[in-house]
Symmetry: D2
Subunit: 91 residues, 4 copies
């Protein structure tokens, strides 16, 4: 992963960790269910952003390297892997 | 929220917090992008389960109470709120 | 369903039927895969709009009637049905 | 597209066209909203299957050809296109 991507992912993940702790507090304090669900959705969306950043970086580096290498076996493997992970993240 | 639901949500959230910390470690240790993405997806799925548990509980209690109360204004409000949160969590 | 909703749904569905026929033509004419996939996604989005219109109408009428009726058994049934259909359409 | 894929897609699309016509009939006959929504979801799932079949075929043929060709410009274009279409179909 590129250094910038790594730094921004770590920052996001540290914020997400705090949000998850905040969720535990909300549950303990018996906050209203709908507010909890709304906050869970916000954390899921934040994780989605991390996922997208990592994938963008992966495509720009690992897949790009496989293409530049001219190694068709590696290219096939990278494409298959990418398709699998993108299809899975559909759900 | 019912006491059982609260306890199981807190347990799940504490595990999720650990998983998010694990994700930061994976990023720091420059683990393979695809493994990171796979793990992010696992955490999102775990949050989804919390969301579902809270919603189930909400429907069984808050919405149920509104119905039992016979207060139509409150019933309308609870249904509208539920539809909104379920539709939002669609995406 | 309200008359306006019914009319607009029928109009949408008739357009969708034409789009599906168009898709068959694209496949027969060996059009580029990505263009076909893009068009399939457009038809799915159009169906989604029909789904949303029918649900909006349902909530405004059937669920509303259950609330007005004061019949708690019916209210419970309507809420359960609504939650089920909204949760299913998540995926 | 491979001949087998084309034949099976045409068969599926013809069935889907019939299902959409069936939906119009359900709306005209004032069938119950929830039954209509359930049927719309079934048609959307059937379209999803067409999408997946076309994409599988595309990856097996067009992307595979780009890899075999050794043309890195074409490979990059195919990967970018694939990522875009898979990411879009996420939502």
């Amino acid at each position: 992963m590129h250094q910038n991507t790594r730094a921004s992912c770590l920052k996001r993940l540290s914020k997400i960790e705090g949000q998850v702790r905040g969720l535990s507090r909300m549950v303990e304090e018996r906050r209203y269910c709908i507010d909890i669900v709304t906050q869970v959705a916000a954390v899921r969306a934040a994780l989605r952003k991390v996922e997208e950043a990592v994938l963008q970086d992966h495509i720009g580096h690992c897949v790009e390297n496989a293409i530049s290498s001219g190694n068709t076996t590696e290219q096939r493997a990278k494409v298959a892997e990418l398709v699998e992970v993108l299809s899975r993240s559909n759900r």
